[in-house]
Amino acid sequence: MRLIYILVFALSLLLAGAAVQKWGAAELRANFTGVAFITLIALPWLIAATMLFAWFGLSLRDDVAERKNTAALVALCGALAGVAFTYIGGNLGEGPSYWNNFYSVGLATIGFFGLWLVLEIVANVSISVAEERDLASGVRLGGLLLAMGLVLGRAVAGDWHSTEGTFHDFVHDGWPAGLLCVLAIPVEFADRPSRHRPFPSWLSAGLLPAVGYLVLAAGWLWWVGRWEGMGR
């Protein structure tokens, strides 16, 4: 099962490299080492994120490797992909320095974990995934985290102008991620395992809301359109 996560990890790295090669700063695209550097930095970033997931109630080692919890695997894959998209978004567009990239990536990633924290505090969603081992909860959470990552990544993509400007764009274009988080709370209370419904359907209680989150995220990405500098 851990191999699936490793596969998602590898795909995330590849996607990061391909995105920077296509839409990164011209200086990076001019030679291979720039793209390689940004892609390599993604490696420890995603590893750190994986380690941080355990503090949010989902552990790759404890839940996936040792307990063979499929629900946790799905949720963690969604989380990893979500973080990957925040990383990718922060590296798209022109900017004078690598520190601009790191600021953008950091902003989006902090937003990502901040929203996940809110979800955990209010709805304890990790309990449904790690303890109940409920596949529907895992699919739902994975879809939500991926959707939030897409929105937040898009919010920090684009040419760098200033720290204040980046923060303004992050809030202006990233607020739907917060809306997704708020929408997810009543869904969690309604769809998580209970005495009356101990084994919710992974289709109706898992895949359906997950697809809903992703459709909302995709719709927002379509609405907000291209990021500054994407056409070059």
């Binding site: 949010f56 080692r61 839940d63 490797a65 040792e66 307990r67 063979k68 955990e120 109940e132 101990p198």
Partner: protein
Amino acid sequence: MPSAACSNPKGIASSSPGLRGTSYPGITVGTSATLNGLRQGGLTIGEIAGANFLPEVQIALVRTCHDMTSRQEIFSAWAPDASLWSRWAKPVLFAHLDSALSQIPVRESAADLNWAPPPAEKAAFVLDLPGSEGVLNGIALATMGYRPVPLYNAIPLPYGQRLLDPLSNVSVAAVDLLPILSALRTGAAPLAQLNLPADAPPAFLLDANRRGTRKMIPDEFDNRSVSFTTDFPSGTFLYAQGIRQIILLQKATLEPQADLAHTLRRWQDAGLALRRARLDVAEPAQPFEIPKPLWYRAMFQRALAGLGLRRARGGGFGAWVPNSSAGG
């Protein structure tokens, strides 16, 4: 009634594992001769169950003929695919059954558990007992129709390592798991013979010594462990299977350990009734309620509980404490 008359497949059993510094003196239980060597004496679990022993008679651990030898066979006896509870059984300790030290004799015996409710009453047990006593009493409950589910999450001292420090005479490992390992090995065959139903109510087995008793120093083997809420089925799942009460069985204390308290409180919140009893006190199990432990339901509680413990590469807990002077 199954017969225990069979041979030791290797002929005469050795009197000592043959390792320096070992604290295990070797086989001393009474034996008798068979065609191929010594038969290790005692009764099978089947004979014990059929004989209807009085409560004051101690039930000794027995060896049966043609004990399972492969790790997979032994683990399958403890966690058969058909059992509803097998997905929670922890395989990490079974991976070390190849060690010769897993065949040391076990001196403890099971207690009289005739007070346990019949399986039809759908109670689940948690046996938080020291060393091999959990396994022995788990097998005793198995004769009554419960499915023992081993949740031992630590690994033993690696084979070939000195068991005691020659200078201090203190055990190198934080927790002695070898009696548990041995009891799991010898209990596998009788357990398999019981042919428990797939939905037999569970008896979860924990090692009461899992958290160790001392601070570990360099070059010692730190195999302390904790139990997590994720090691057990949720209250929702138990309730869905008809389980309505949990009986905690411990020794020398009634208070549950701090790590187990989280699980018990979860079950209490799910509407399961909690009762507790002591193995060393002849009193019926008493109902109790457990207060909220520190960091209850916090998303980081598991990560926090694992801090300071050493994880084994193949899963579970157990690793050498590094020497601080080692390395650049």
